[in-house]
Every structure is written in structure tokens, then in C-alpha cells.
């Protein structure tokens, strides 16, 4: 598998995420879309890190730097946090509006 394959996949994920976010009529599925987007990014990072990060020699032995992977881990963490907050807010929304359809939450406008 070459870098391209990963990139293609991640781009597809990203697009799907965007699509979901734009079209879903349910807050939960929007959240899912968002998760897709974030994960596509993580995938990118890892892939890039794996393929093109230049190796540098530390004390003679070949060691790879894991920048990308680290970023990905942070990304996952943040995604989780975001999901948590999102869900909490959806709860509040449901309490106030009795629905979690995003297009019904539009009292603020103009």
C-alpha cells in the first residue's frame, strides 16, 4: 500500500464527514460526521508520518520520529472530548426544544 491509498481513503472519509454534517437531519449523525472528519485527519497524520518523515540518526542507530502519530493520538483525545461536550449540549437542546433536529433549532437568526 502506498501513501496515495491512505490519502484517498482519508479524503473519502473527510468528504463523507462533510456530507453528513451538511445533510443529516439529526444532531447525532452530525456528530458522527464530525468524528469522520477528525479521523480522516488522524489517518492523514499517521500516513504522512509513516511514509515521508525523514529518518534522522540519533547516536548511530536508525530511529524514526513519531510526530504524526503523536498528533493523531492528541487528535483522538480531543475528538473524544468534543464528542462529550457535544452530547452534553445535545441533551440541553433536547431538554429545551424537545427535538434534536438541527433545522428546528433556529430561534436565533437575522
Amino acid at each position: 500500500m502506498s501513501l496515495q491509498h491512505y490519502l484517498v481513503i482519508s479524503s473519502i472519509l473527510f468528504s463523507l464527514g462533510i456530507f453528513a454534517v451538511l445533510t443529516r437531519k439529526n444532531a447525532i449523525s452530525i456528530l458522527m460526521g464530525i468524528e469522520l472528519i477528525l479521523n480522516s485527519c488522524n489517518l492523514n497524520f499517521v500516513a504522512f508520518s509513516r511514509f515521508i518523515t525523514p529518518a534522522e540518526s540519533i547516536v548511530g542507530s536508525e530511529v524514526f520520529r513519531f510526530d504524526g502519530q503523536i498528533i493523531a493520538i492528541f487528535g483522538i483525545v480531543l475528538a473524544a472530548a468534543e464528542a462529550a461536550v457535544f452530547l452534553a449540549i445535545i441533551l440541553a437542546i433536547y431538554r429545551e426544544f424537545g427535538s434534536i433536529r438541527p433545522d428546528e433549532v433556529d430561534t436565533l437568526k437575522g
Partner: protein, 491 residues
Amino acid sequence: MEPLKNIESLAYFSPEILLVVFAAAVIISDLIVKNRESNIVAYISLVGLGCSLVAILVTNSFINSNEPISLFFGMIRLDGFAVFFKILLLLATAATILFSLRSEELDVRLKGEYYALLLAVTFGMFLMASSTNLLMIFISLETVSLTSYILAGFLTHSPRSSEAAFKYITYGAVASGTMLFGLSMLFGMAGTGDLMQISSQVAAVLDSGGVSTLTVLIAITFILAGIGYKIASVPFHMWSPDVYEGAPIPITAFLSVASKAAGFALFLRFFHVGFGKPEILQSIDWGLLLAIVSALTMTVGNLAALPQQNVKRLLAYSSIAHGGYLLMGAVLLTTEGLGAIFFYLIVYLFMNLGAFYVVVLVANEAGTEMIDGYRGLATRAPFVACAMAIFLFSLTGIPPLAGFFGKWVLFYAVIGEGLYWLAFIGLLNSVVSLYYYARIVKAMYLESTEDTDSFSFPTSTIALLSVFVVPTILIGFLPIFYTLSEKIILQ
């Protein structure tokens, strides 16, 4: 100079650390203190801000401006630029806390969390102002966002607040996601997260033909979406009116000033350091892009503000417009431009926060955020009305108020680069803006109301208000502020 290792970095990291410590302290003390009415937590957090301010100044004294220090293996950097923004943000936060003390819409039971979150946000913003690594940028951005989402939705049992939070998080998540994707592409091209090296790396790749300009363009645009959402620039501004309207007023004030400022810090560092390099500029005309964006931003903001009836929302749009003005300074990333932005941010801090404070007060007394609520304020609370008038006219940019001088330096920078058209748009916009600002003044001074019982404010309020009024009048006349740019050129 060589980036410092983690342990030795800590000393320079003390301001942020202090913030975190005090955030914890706030929560704990909140658990201890039984009396819901006491504002002890607020004062603790204020103390925290104080300490962190001191720490900033101390650490600042270690460094000399022309040789900044990078900490944590170059994750973040401590330079004049960062220090400036940190102080700015501290002031904004302090103001917000003071507003919150006066605000009556906040739920007394959640004080602890509230102030803790505020400190957390500030912490995140500190990172935004100083991060020099893609990873750090992303983390700081997310920290700020997540906490702000909660703060925006902090009013329990208020549909508006919840809606605001919902829109905010949805919008924010997508935007930051997009940005992250852009970052990943950038990372892929450069092979490093270090902002200092990215530009040169990307340039190299471009030259070697490894990637096309289009890729770079897409990456940058994605990132722009993330940053643009923070500074609410067209077309990434649409969340802000709704969120500002829904959020508790102190938070609105905070978002409109602090998070905008932090956003600009990030923006400037990213583009100026990351992509201010000529070779990148050649391939894509960033200047024009930003010019158009800023023109659109201020125009949209002002025009949309014209018909608003809700003062909070009106100010939201006006703050979008001001984002546009600020962007003018960033168009060509010249020293004058930066200086102008710094100067304008200071001015904006005072006048905008002041205006929002008045909104808080009126909301408390008259119980409304609508313009009608301001009828006859001149007779009911002369000083407050006068202060509001000063803030609004300063926002318009009428001499001799600070706002004028702020605009002056901005337009000076723009015209200095020969962008007359942008200057004209900006100036025409400020004429338009007069109209809606004046509507509030009109309501306060030229219209009368049936109930003429005067509002009574404690001296503390008046004092705080004058803390905003005085600079709004004076800053323009103090030469020192005009020379900031020389002190805080970022490397």
C-alpha cells in the same frame, strides 16, 4: 537559539501554569465554600490572573525581544508578540470576571465551574498566542473552543443559550476539523510540525515539483477556515451573531474581544511566520485574498448590523466589522500593519468591553437587550449613557476618541501599501456604521420614555465603567501606544 527542554522550559511557562493552578484552586474552593452568594471564587480567579500577570512580566524581563526563547522543544515560543497578547487576554478575562460579578443572568450554583472554565479558556488562549507547532496550534485551538462552547451554553434553562452552544460547537467542530485536515496536508508536505521550518520545507517541495501550488492553496485555505472561524471573518462568520446573542453577555463580551484577539495572534503567527516568506507569497497572492476577505467582512458586518434591534446582536455584527478592519492591517503583513493591529486591538479591547458592560448594566436594570430599553437612558443614568455614547462613537471612529486613532493607524498602513480602494471601502463602512451606532445614542438621548425612574448604580460599577471610559478617550493622545510595533516585532 536552541529550544529549551521540558524541565527548563517550566520556569518560562509559569504564567500558564499559574492559571491552571488557580483554575484548580477555584474548583476546590468552590467545593469548600458553602455560601452560594459569596463571590470568593471570582476573587480567587482574579488573584490568579494577577499572579499570572506578574509572572508574565517577570518572564518577559528574562528575555530580550530580538532573541526569543522557544520552549518544550520548540512547541511554543516566548516573545514580545506572545507577551503582548497574553497581557491583552488577561485584561479581557479580568474584565469578563468583573462583568460576571455584576451580571444577574448567571446561575449562582455554578460559579466554580464558570470561573474555572474562564481561567481554562485564558490558558488555551495563552497557548494560541505562543504556539509555534502545528500540534500545539491545534491543541490550543481546541482547548479554547471546547471551553467556549460550554461557556456559551452556560445558562441552564435558557433555550437561546443552549442553541448558541449547539450552533457554536457544530460550527466550531467542523471548522476545526477542516483546519486539522489542512494542517495534516501541510504536515505531509513539510514533514515537520515546526512552524519555523514548514515554510522553507514547503518552498523546497514546491520548487522540486513534489506538490502543486493547488495543494498548498487547498491546505492553506482549509487552515484559513479554522482561523477565520475564530476571528469571525467572512465567510466563516455566520456562527458569531447567533452565538453572541445567545451566550451570557459577559461571555459575549469575552468572545468578541478575547477569542478574537487570540484568533488574530494565531493568524498573524501562522501567516507572518509560517507563510510570510516571499517564495510562498509569489505562488499565491495572499495579499489580495486577505484584502478581499477583509473588505467583505467589514461590509457584511456593518450592513447586517444596520437593521438590528437587539443591541447584543448589533454589537456582534459590529465586532465582525471590526474584525474586518483589523484584517486590513494584516493584508500585507508589514510592520506598520502589525503595529496598527496591536494598537487597534488595545483600543478595541476597551471600547468594546465597555460597550458590553453597559449592555450588562442595562440588561440588569431595564431587563432587556433591545434598543427600546435604552430610551431615555440619558436622564435615567446620565453617566452610563454618556459612557455608552463615548464607546459607540469611539467604535465609529470619531475624533478625538481612541477609536479614531485606531482606525487612523489602520488606514494609514493600508494606504501606505497603496490599497486606496480598500481604504475607501473601510472608510465608507465607518460612515455606514455611524448610522447604527447613532441609533442607540439616539434612543438614549433624543428619545424619552414613559417610566423615568432613574437607575442607581454602586460606585464600584461607575468606577469600573470609568476604567473603560478613560482609556477610550485618552489612548489616542498617548504617543507610547503608537510605537508598540517596534517593541513587539515577532521573529
